[in-house]
Symmetry: C2
Subunit: 306 residues, 2 copies
């Protein structure tokens, strides 16, 4: 069995060594144009040429949770696209989102500014019941985030394409229930996959439905959000703030209005990093399962887009 590795923005050596150690019966090498046919590929944003030259691939293992970049390409006909499920990402996502929600709810930015100016301040505690949090996307990451928010006793709503049941979470599903979901929430967390249906889903119409003083946390993809609509709603005062980890263009271009906006907190796409060791172990296990003809978790439906 031969495994090829073709990942943009990733140092290959530690991945190659890790995959060789995890799959001692396989040969593992970095892809070069004209290389021999491989059985499986470990990929991140590969060039179309790679896919064109590897028509016999059985598995394409994406080293991230989102496969939107991969699904834009023409794929080998028999290749299953497999995304990472969890591999240490869900706990990071829960951390990131809980940190952002707590920071906003408890006004820690405000206290930091007060104390930085030498002011011992008093702010009236806010009421948890007024801070319902909505989680868009109830896959592995979304469910973990919802559960973590419940731990802090926030009212939690969830929305997904198809109906789901998550303990302690008010679940809404499908286009019909989207507006009702939005108007039940003050804080909105986006964890949706990026598909033609979800592109631009965070826009003036939808974000206006959040309760007054609404707050957006986007940890999915930049193309879910209509940037200028967010800025307008912040400037008009309907939204109180936003924490953004992902952007239409990354790195965020120097001239973008998000950089200096006083109500926006930015991080450089760091909410849930791919952890190499966990990912290698998971991918190696799935390759062996596919080879034995067993089902594996995380196989993408190319029509649905996730």
């Amino acid at each position: 069995m031969h495994i090829t590795f073709c990942c943009a923005d990733t140092r290959p050596e530690p991945w190659l060594e890790g995959l060789r150690a995890a799959l001692p019966g396989a040969t593992v090498s970095e892809w070069r144009p004209g290389a021999a046919q491989a059985d499986h590929a470990v990929v991140w944003s590969p060039p179309q040429q790679f896919l064109d030259e590897q028509p016999g691939l059985k598995g394409l293992f994406n080293i991230g949770a989102g496969v939107d970049a991969l699904l834009k390409l023409k794929l080998p006909p028999a290749a299953k696209v497999v995304r990472l499920d969890d591999a240490g990402m869900s706990v990071q996502m829960a951390e990131y989102v809980c940190h952002a929600v707590i920071r906003h709810f408890r006004e820690f930015d405000g206290y930091e500014a007060d104390m930085g100016a030498g002011r011992w301040s008093f702010r009236k505690p806010r009421t948890r019941a007024d801070f319902a949090v909505g989680v868009m996307g109830l896959g592995v990451l979304g469910q973990r985030v919802a559960k973590a928010l419940r731990h802090f006793e926030f009212p939690v709503h969830g929305w997904s394409r198809s109906a789901k049941a998550v303990e302690g979470v008010h679940c809404h599903a499908g286009a019909d229930q989207f507006d009702g979901f939005l108007s039940a929430c003050r804080v909105l967390v986006n964890l949706l996959p990026l598909t033609p249906d979800t592109r631009d889903i965070l826009n003036r119409r939808t974000l206006s439905r959040l309760q007054p003083g609404g707050y957006l946390i986007n940890v999915a993809r930049g193309a879910h959000l209509v940037d200028e609509d967010l800025i307008a709603l912040l400037d008009e005062g309907h939204l109180a703030g936003a924490t953004l980890d992902v952007f239409r263009t990354e790195p965020l271009p120097a001239e973008h209005g998000f950089w200096k906006h006083p109500k926006i907190t930015l991080t450089p796409h760091t909410s849930a990093r791919t952890l190499r060791d966990e990912s290698i172990a998971q991918i190696a296990g799935k390759i062996l399962a596919l080879e034995r003809g067993e089902p594996v978790a995380g196989v993408v439906d190319p029509v649905r887009g996730y």
Copy 2:
């Protein structure tokens, strides 16, 4: 039955109204010098004169978790001292501590500085296994905090005066196991009651035992910490930082070295506020239980100090 109310820094009207509604069979009034004898008192830092004039009190209900200020006074001989247990404080404490731990572990202060300066930065993810968190004090608040930290998969150690068992937490107990507890931890969270045994417990000797790059979160009482020892260990580099919510003198005096220290995050004693409605309901329930001769939770052992 007569209930008297004597709380410093607290607007009495909403408490009086709430207690009257919760205890319709009782008279409830604010204490004045020379007032009639009461059966029970709701107190926060009362003057000695109040206690001297009310020798017949059966219950002294403290509207906070820490009773150190009350135990400094000479108390009526038959009065049980009862502290609030939870009443909405433990979830606030879990929020505060998790926010501080996550913010430090994930370097969100650093990312905020990077992005504020227009820099799209990369920081190598830290390893969760290197960030063991130790919780000092395993009462209602400490156990809730430890549980919340476990939710984010941090290794969690606990230390208490007498041995406890908390699921998922490495529990240490007593003076003999204190040094071993400290050296197992990188982040230290203080939730101890303030007693003669615990005053100054966070000092050069003890904080030096934390793993290099150690981090202190003090949410108990300012007098647990020897301020100048913390500043020295931060300046020497053994400790990486601290988040402090409580101080020897509050408000923190203008000339104090904590105000402008670059490695210290300050908040104005806001980690867990007394929530009025929850507290009134709890105190009313305990007054009725005591009157029926039933045991109540949170009765303080004056010798032990909590």
